[in-house]
Symmetry: C2
Subunit: 567 residues, 2 copies
């Protein structure tokens, strides 16, 4: 078992921010934080779960259903989309307290399996739910379009009065006085909060491990990562511990978790959902801005979230970054009028067998449904990958190190990997940064021209080389290659992760022998040992033109029909 | 007469890009360019204009009417808003050729007085107009919502097959193969091009002087500058040489020209009008992005331009920077529902007498009409001014110098001034730039909170300390202080320059004795010698929340009514 990133790919980074002596002083803070998490993972919601090894191939979702860890009513309620829950509450057929209790039960079980949470506050949630119920009883009116809906939040999103650490030990003493805009907006809409979810140190892994609460696991296969950086969200939503969760994404951090754990996840275009308030290393960085967006088990709930957040929440009244543009409710388009291009390989790191199977499956289904399907010939993907990686680190890792320094915490292997992106510690000048932006803008123009001139509506691509990879085992820890997701970040194109309905099957998805085109491709391929990946969801990405977020979701519904996914 | 900027304010800039020997080699290119301009200022459109000294206080607009330099029909036609011209052409009551001929006549006279143009191509425009007429005769249909409308373009906007120099001598050999997006979009809409307008060296003066065709003059008072950097546009549109012009604005470059020469001018929010294609030093700079927008003598034409450009032109099909958000046609709001805050003084450099009179006049008129008028207490204006100035030069002047180097041309005093903004030649790191952005974002948040929490709809402010200042005379050349315009650039708020209907009058607008709060305030106030400014238009700025561009234009129409401006 290796714990370090491959040294030969880590070339321009010096760890001058870790300090074991200083870190030792933070032990009490970490201990206190863990103790609070343990204490607030309320015993009354726990179930008997089997012992499992830390690297067990074990499907917790199947176990949940097979062993009926919830009551019939709880299953029914937590398997109901938020859209319908609101409607039932509006008719007085369900209370917010009932809803939260069921999800809290499922969430605590999820925690027992996946360690997806950083903080539980179920009591506070129940109090809020009771207030909503009282208000409804008095007025007969819902507080808002998300009335009584339990929403899980990535921990980095600032929460007034609660530690907000973003995965950095040194922020364990940070307690914001004000809520992040997203918390304010969702609360105004009637949402109920009860859990904040795990994320990696640096917020720059497609994995979720940190020195505070450790790593989270994938609910469909506990040996695998739930992805990152919104990996707690991916595990939470996919397990059904919340009907809706909020993640953030600067390189794949909503989409890898949604894809790895097996739910829907939307990376909207920039400026639609607020990222103001909270902890991150990205302040003032606008070459490739982070976005926030929803994860859900039902696509209608993605739509509900976007519409409610934007049209009723009016985030532009709180955050000048957000554009006051309504969410357009679109009908599903006629498949016969749509052209989809499929990216089978980005030319840099080809997908593993299960992803290749997923792409082929979707292409066939789309073709049968009358969609025009063409092959996408990747455009300047190498340049895009190299440019976006330089953008991540062009501050010479100043802000990341600045987040580490207060605690001196040791760096995890994937943090070392992230700090080695681009030119690592090399501090860029403003002029260098502008040239990166010029390259980016030229890439955006080329992709726009591709869409417009070829009348292509959508591109479907892998979210990652494989399904969820293993965590820190077998010498191949974590996912290194982000090219499939970060491409859409540098282009700022709305991208929806969707389930194909397929899961990895070691007997079908055998390892292919490939002639690697690069060391990175070799590393990513060597880690595909089929038996490790059993039951891992096979999800893909759907991408459209910038600000065609609504078109993306509307066609997602067509995909749902065509792929016969459960509603 | 001084030709240099005040040395004690120019502190962090070294001229290492001018090279007299190299520059001498460019004399033939400059000569050729000037000769083409002279030759294409067609004699057949010229009128007898009086001799005037280069520093004459002389009202060319009054002269035009008083001496009937156009025929009655030409006056009628060129004084008709574009909105109405299109309608008349749509009814077959007017041809595009007739329209262009009248404007070309007025434009050539404008050139005789103000030297506003860099390039005329009236013949090409007439050919295009004839084609539009032929198409209309055949189909009975207009080509688009700007069918047959002569539109003047700031020269920096790339034009296929035409020299595009942006005011830099070294770009006199630059002939783009492709049109800028704005040229493509406007042509698709039916616009007719015939003239490209003057701008300053560096595109960073609120004046329009360069080493190619020299300086332009203000049509209402030839002693004064028409402003800059879209100064040629300001002179052109205000004189009636075109009904609509396109400028760009990174610190006041649409608004100073509109205000100084006396027309309407809209600085839209970013991403609505394309700036893709053309010559500038701003590539990849997104801390305070440049925007493009219209200038017009009639506000309805500003509305027409925005609506046609956005809704019919769909710039997002060509430029990924543009957001696909329709222009909303709004009714004029009820004045009694509106709150306007007036900024009488930004706390740094107080306005001259005529501007103070204009603000008071507008406040009184608004109050009489039932608008709630409050006083705006400036928010962090010093920080905003210092931050935006650092943003302009934080590349250590790399890109500006890069534009100068090919020709080695001498720097004009206002270029020296611009290159001394912020920390001048000091090259910032990415980290420094991000901290500037953080300050900017916090300013944006404070201004947003001001609007929302005080229920203020609009802020009215000076466009500049005074009316148009003199050019390079009396030891006080040019406008130095940009704080009143650049404030809205760093905040990215839509801002409409509007006429108050008033003009400077030396007998009313006497010089006030002030106790200067800074050297800059002293310099700006010392230059107010009332007799120099006779007849200068008194225009102001109307600012709203980000992306409330439509609300700004709609309330502009209310202002027009209240101020009893001619339609």
């Amino acid at each position: 078992m290796s714990t370090a990133a491959p040294k030969n790919l880590v070339y321009k980074f010096t760890n001058d921010c870790s300090d074991p002596e200083l870190f030792a002083k933070w032990a009490p803070e970490i201990e206190k934080y863990r103790a609070a998490l343990a204490a607030n993972t309320l015993d009354e919601y726990k179930s008997e779960v089997p012992e499992f090894a830390d690297d067990a191939v074990f499907n917790a979702v199947a176990y949940l259903y097979d062993n009926k860890l919830l009551s019939e009513d709880e299953f029914k309620l937590t398997d109901t989309p938020a859209t319908e829950l609101v409607s039932l509450m509006g008719k007085g057929l369900l209370t917010a307290v009932e809803v939260l209790k069921a999800f809290a039960h499922r969430a605590v079980i999820c925690q027992q399996f996946t360690a997806f949470a950083m903080e539980f506050f179920i009591g506070e949630g129940l109090k809020r739910a009771a207030e909503l119920d009282a208000e409804f009883a008095k007025t007969g009116k819902l507080t808002g379009p998300l009335h009584g809906i339990p929403i899980s939040l990535k921990e980095q999103i600032g929460h007034a009065g609660k530690i907000t650490n973003g995965g950095w030990v040194g922020w364990l003493t940070n307690i914001p006085k004000e809520d992040a805009v997203t918390v304010t907006v969702l609360r105004n809409l009637g949402a109920v909060f009860y859990v904040r979810t795990n994320q990696p140190q640096s917020l720059m892994h497609l994995d979720s491990n940190n020195n505070i609460v450790g790593r989270s696991r994938n609910p469909y296969n506990l040996k695998l990562t739930p992805g990152g950086s919104s990996g707690g969200e991916g595990a939470c939503v996919s397990f059904g511990a919340s009907p809706l969760g909020v993640g953030t994404d600067i390189g794949g951090s909503i989409r890898a978790p949604a894809a790895f754990s097996g739910c829907w996840g939307l990376r909207p275009s920039t400026r639609r959902i607020s990222t103001l308030g909270g902890v991150s290393s990205g302040k003032g960085q606008e070459s490739v801005p982070s976005v926030a967006g929803p994860l859900a088990r039902d696509l209608d709930d993605v739509d509900l979230f976007m519409k409610a957040y934007i049209n009723d929440g009016k985030p532009w009244d709180y955050d000048p970054w957000c554009i006051p543009v309504p969410w357009r409710s679109l009908e599903k388009p006629d498949p016969k009028q749509i052209t989809v291009a499929i990216m089978y390989d980005d030319g840099l790191v080809r997908p593993h067998a299960p992803i290749a199977r997923g792409l082929k499956h979707v292409a066939e289904k789309l073709t049968s449904a009358g969609v025009k399907v063409v092959e996408f010939d990747p455009i300047r993907t190498k340049e895009a990958y190299e440019t976006v990686n330089k953008m991540y680190s062009c501050d010479g890792n100043f802000f990341q190190k600045d987040m580490v320094k207060p605690s001196g915490e040791p760096l995890l292997p994937l943090t070392e990997w992230a700090l080695s992106f681009g030119d690592g510690d090399k501090s860029y000048s403003v002029v260098d940064n502008r040239f990166l932006n010029v390259t980016r803008d030229s890439l955006r123009k080329d992709y726009l021209d591709y869409f417009v001139q070829n009348k292509v509506d959508f591109i479907i691509s892998p979210t990652y080389v494989g399904t969820a990879p293993v965590g820190a085992y077998d010498g191949v820890e974590g996912p290194y290659y982000w090219g499939y997701t970060s491409l859409w970040n540098i282009l700022d194109l709305p991208t929806l992760v969707f389930p194909t309905g397929l899961h990895q099957d070691p007997s079908i998805d055998v390892a292919e022998k490939i002639e690697p085109r690069s060391e990175l491709e070799k590393i990513e391929h060597d880690k595909y040992i089929p038996a490790n990946f059993r039951d891992a969801p096979i999800n893909l990405q759907l991408t459209a033109r910038r600000y065609f977020d609504e078109e993306t979701v509307a066609f997602g519904k067509v995909l749902r029909d065509i792929l016969e996914l459960k509603h």
